[in-house]
């Protein structure tokens, strides 16, 4: 399975990845808006027009303030909640790794948005014919043997692309070789069952506004017990309801027969 490793310590915040993403995916620009909250990035957040975004976080590192850059994009989970939630498989995990979207069968129910633990799928709220949008890990490029546009554009190799196992080994090496320079955690290695986009950082991940309270098992596992009993319940109800109806109505019939003894049936 192909994956990406993003190392915040190597990112210089040039946003070349943001630009190349827009170029490859033909995404329109966004009007710059000022906002009052955490982060100084532009635009403020992911949207249907911005599938990846470098966040600018001012964080205290070794007693002095420093910029630490985080990258927002789809995590391409190993067991994606969005794809399991989707009633029609409009979102699907491909064998190569990327989670891709097929608008031609999407109902626009937005259950994927609710299910995603990373707030990744974005909806085109302003359009009369809207779609769900999100990073595809440049599935078309990956299929052609290329790397995604963002990792290709990265000048410092803060984003690298490769097989998931190789990247995990690489990440572990980086932490081992520079134990004081990294938080000892590969974000995405185990979160919600593991993801295909993994992050390394020198500051705690909550400083980069990453969700740090996610379960280690896939969200899909929380739903299974609601879906698996279905055939048993169906069969059980089929037998029970028929039997009850038989017994109850037989009893009523007998009573009626007793009442109309000698009369018409």
């Amino acid at each position: 399975m192909k994956a990406m490793l993003i190392d915040a310590t190597r990112c210089i915040g040039c946003r070349g990845c943001q630009v190349s993403c827009k170029e490859w995916n033909n995404l329109p620009s966004e009007e710059t808006e000022f906002f009052a909250s955490k982060g100084y990035q532009n635009p403020r957040d992911l949207s249907s027009k911005t599938w990846t975004l470098i966040t600018y976080n001012e964080v205290k590192v070794r007693n002095r303030f420093d910029w630490v850059f985080g990258k927002l994009q789809c995590f391409h989970c190993n067991e994606p909640a969005c794809a399991t939630a989707c009633p029609v498989h409009a979102l699907e995990k491909t064998e190569a790794g990327p989670v891709v979207y097929n608008a031609s069968i999407c109902l626009g129910c937005r259950y994927c948005q609710l299910a995603c633990p990373f707030k990744v799928p974005r909806f085109e709220w302003e359009k009369a014919l809207p779609k769900i949008t999100k990073c595809t890990m440049c599935a078309d490029r990956v299929e052609a043997g290329e790397e995604p546009a963002c990792s290709k554009a990265c000048p410092t190799d803060a984003i690298i692309f490769g097989d998931r196992e190789t990247l995990i080994v690489e990440a572990e090496d980086r932490i081992r070789n520079n134990p004081r320079g990294y938080v000892h955690h590969i974000y995405g290695k185990n979160e919600v069952g593991g993801t295909c986009v993994m992050h390394l950082s020198n500051v705690p991940f909550e400083e980069l506004s990453f969700a740090t309270d996610l379960p280690e098992k896939s969200l899909t596992d929380f739903v299974k017990h609601g879906m698996q009993p279905i055939p048993f319940v169906l069969a059980g109800l089929g037998v029970a309801l028929g039997a009850i109806s038989w017994i109850v109505n037989r009893r009523i019939e007998n009573k009626e027969k007793l009442h109309s003894e000698g009369g018409q049936q």
Partner: protein, 423 residues
């Protein structure tokens, strides 16, 4: 709502205005996109429409299958007069529900896709199939009323012999879609076929009017459906507040829907009494009311027991909006009506029954809104409040429903069956 109905001239006008305004807003929504009429966002993709129209509306329609089951399967034949109203309201409710769903769906023109593209792991897939199948079942249950009105005895006979086979095919397909397993399809089809053959050969008693398989299918699909609405939220342990997030959510949804059914039927019957100026059979309503304390009591135990087991009791005593909303739900929807239904002086009056039932219904709506709107908390995102236009579209849809309901009870033999009882 009540005053509008009792004063037909003014009330009727207001109803038509609200319905018309709702439709104008719906047209605007389809031209300009969801963003133009809602406060929904990528953080809060589901709002009032899902919470009220879909979650609450779907649950309130449970009156249909509970009453149909009671009358035809569990020998509650004396409730036959109530079953027709319940089935009609459920059928209308589902039609409006599908209309509401199409307003909320971003790409409603793709709604057919759910028939052909299967994902048995998705609760939403289960929901969509249950809605399609149960609407068909309700249509089939409702058709005899139309046949009766237009004296189409021939169709009535066709309908009676055709319906069981259609049901077997429908449930077989449903099983296949939910399991991808022909073994399960075989099991389900065999069970249903066995009952049908037993009835045709006269071994098993059959109803003279209603194909029992149709009623059985209605109960089976509704059970699945009510539970699956709860399953939808199993996916959001990271977003739904601990007061409501529980692994037994599907069970709670199913049980609370069943619990609300008698209250909803009572409410509908007493309201249509006002509308039509005829007297409903009050004894039937009081015998329905007698089950309410048991249902409410058990549900309360289930809810509190679940909180205790999960160790989430403390959450109810926090000072935040969610805790307040939880207490409102429990008090208005369960504790107060429980006391009211236990008080004979209240239970035995029309007014008392009406208001106790309204409280149960309001409590259920409140619960569904709590689970799908109030209880959903997305970190680092501005909270969602419905925009005025969202509210007016919902109000418009309800108004359309009331107008159609009134038209139907006036023009179709819904209550006629009380005198010329066919069972």
């Amino acid at each position: 709502m009540k005053s509008e109905l009792t004063k037909p001239s003014i009330g009727q006008t207001i109803l038509w205005l609200l319905a018309g305004f709702g439709i104008v807003l719906v047209l605007y929504r389809f031209l300009m996109g969801l963003g133009a009429v809602t406060n929904l966002s990528d953080g809060y993709p589901w709002g009032l429409w899902i919470g009220f129209d879909i979650m609450a509306g779907g649950a309130l329609a449970a009156g249909g299958f509970v009453m149909a089951g009671t009358v035809y399967l569990f020998g509650g034949r004396k409730f036959h007069a109530l079953a027709r109203t319940a089935i009609l309201t459920a059928f209308l409710g589902y039609l409006l529900y599908i209309f509401g769903l199409c307003v909320d769906l971003g790409r409603p023109w793709n709604i057919w896709a759910a028939i052909f593209f299967w994902n048995r792991d998705s609760p939403m897939f289960e929901v969509s199939w249950c809605v399609m199948l149960y609407t068909t079942v309700l249509l089939l249950e409702f058709l005899p009323v139309v046949f009766e009105k237009y004296r189409m005895e021939k169709f009535q006979t066709y309908w009676k012999s055709f319906v069981p086979w259609l049901i077997i095919v429908m449930l077989g397909l449903f099983t296949l879609a939910m399991t991808y397993s022909f073994i399960w399809v075989f099991v389900i089809v065999l069970v249903l076929l066995a009952w049908e053959i037993a009835m045709r050969t006269g071994v098993m008693p059959r109803d003279k009017q209603m194909p029992i398989l149709l009623i059985i299918a209605g109960v089976m699909i509704s059970t699945m459906y009510q539970a699956s609405l709860g399953s939808l939220f199993l996916f959001v342990p990271h977003k739904l507040h601990a007061l409501w997030y529980t692994p037994i959510l599907p069970l709670l949804f199913l049980f609370s829907a069943i619990m609300t059914a008698p209250a909803m039927v009572t409410f509908e019957t007493l309201m249509s009494e006002n509308m039509l100026k005829h007297k409903a059979n009050f004894n039937l309503l009081t015998s329905l009311a007698r089950v309410m304390p048991y249902l409410l009591g058990f549900y309360l135990l289930l809810k509190v027991g679940d909180l205790v087991v999960r160790g989430a009791v403390i959450e109810a005593f926090m000072l935040n909006g969610q805790a307040v909303s939880w207490w409102m739900e429990i008090t208005i929807g369960i504790i107060v009506p429980l006391i009211l239904f236990l008080t004979p002086e209240i239970r035995s009056t029309r007014r008392g029954l009406l208001w106790s039932s309204i409280l149960v219904v309001v409590g259920l709506v409140w619960n569904r809104l709590n689970v799908s709107v109030v209880g959903i908390i997305v970190q680092e995102w501005e909270t969602y409040y419905p925009l005025w236009s969202e509210i007016f579209i919902t109000v418009g849809i309800i108004s359309i429903g009331l107008i159609i309901f009134k038209f139907a009870v006036k023009n179709l033999p819904i209550y006629a069956s009380e005198t010329t009882s066919s069972v």
